[in-house]
Symmetry: C2
Subunit: 190 residues, 2 copies
């Protein structure tokens, strides 16, 4: 039961035989987080890739002025890690926190990379994942430089309306990098 969502997530994206799928799944282990629990330690490298079965993770970094900027939220049926650190082995520069009680499956970095060499479908799955991550992350970070708050809010409503439905005003405002008051004004205008 616990592996149903992950199994579907993978087979929706690549052609993979049952035997190979089971090898992949066998390397994932469960992890339960309480609300507000943090799962990485700044200064250490990212050593795990997470799949969210239930709940939600918030990934954020600190600006020069000490304010937090949310890079992304990972809701159910998405993978999450600090990919820069996961790839490069460099120390983490961002936090990952459960914003509600969260059920995860995770695979270690070592197992993840070992599977790439022996299961071609896993290499293809990872390539697709990297493409998706590159596109969404670049758009997200570039939006801070190229869009004003109104444009960012409109884009959010278009691409991720469930963020506004499910998250507190405080978190939505933080995601848009504006104050809660500015968000209220935007909501009344649009």
């Amino acid at each position: 039961m616990m592996y149903t969502q992950l199994s579907k997530y993978i087979t929706d994206r690549v052609a993979i035989g049952d035997d190979q799928l089971n090898v992949v799944l066998s390397h994932f282990k469960p992890l339960m987080l309480k609300k507000n629990e943090v799962i990485n330690i700044i200064g250490h490298p990212a050593r795990r890739m997470y799949f969210v079965n239930k709940g939600c993770l918030r990934v954020y970094f600190l600006k020069v002025d000490g304010n937090e900027v949310t890079r992304r939220f990972a809701f159910e049926n998405t993978f999450s890690t600090s990919l820069v650190s996961f790839i490069s082995g460099e120390p983490l520069t961002e936090f990952t926190k459960a914003i509600e009680a969260t059920e995860l499956l995770y695979i270690s970095r070592d197992d993840f990379y070992r599977l790439l060499d022996v299961i071609p479908a896993w290499e293809k799955f990872y390539r697709n994942y990297l493409e998706f991550a590159y596109v969404t992350n670049t758009k997200r970070l570039q939006s801070f430089a190229t869009q004003d708050a109104t444009e960012r809010y409109k884009l959010l409503l278009k691409e991720n309306p469930h963020y506004v439905l499910r998250l507190s005003n405080k978190l939505v405002a933080n995601y848009l990098n504006i104050s809660q008051e500015a968000l209220s004004r935007l909501k009344s205008k649009i």
Copy 2:
């Protein structure tokens, strides 16, 4: 001769047989650019991946206030494309310009993706490329939010000192997203 650098670039990164390497190389065609020539059209999707044999490309986008921000420079022996558009097929949102006379080899997007399916070493090569692109691009874009001008300049000196040696002060300042005057002050301070 024209394919020597590209050939070395690939074989330095993945194990690939001569036959398969020649198949890959056969899909690359030469393109010569004059100084200041632009090779993409905003509003159209990116249809080519470029390899720089000689010269340098500058990739930049426009901020809300109309100012240009340099996302990256691609010097000799690097690949370059607008990867978000190349992957997603969405219209381009950034410009690519030759900042000096430049000699390129390019492969069409269709050929590039077709090779992924038939040459496993090419899939692995692309996976490595995506990992590198994800890391460098995320660091670059995140630096705008998390680092001040002094930190960005120090990082540049550490990771890409040839930028400062080879590029005009105007381009270095633009890359750091500061004025030429601010760059002069930084240079005298450090």
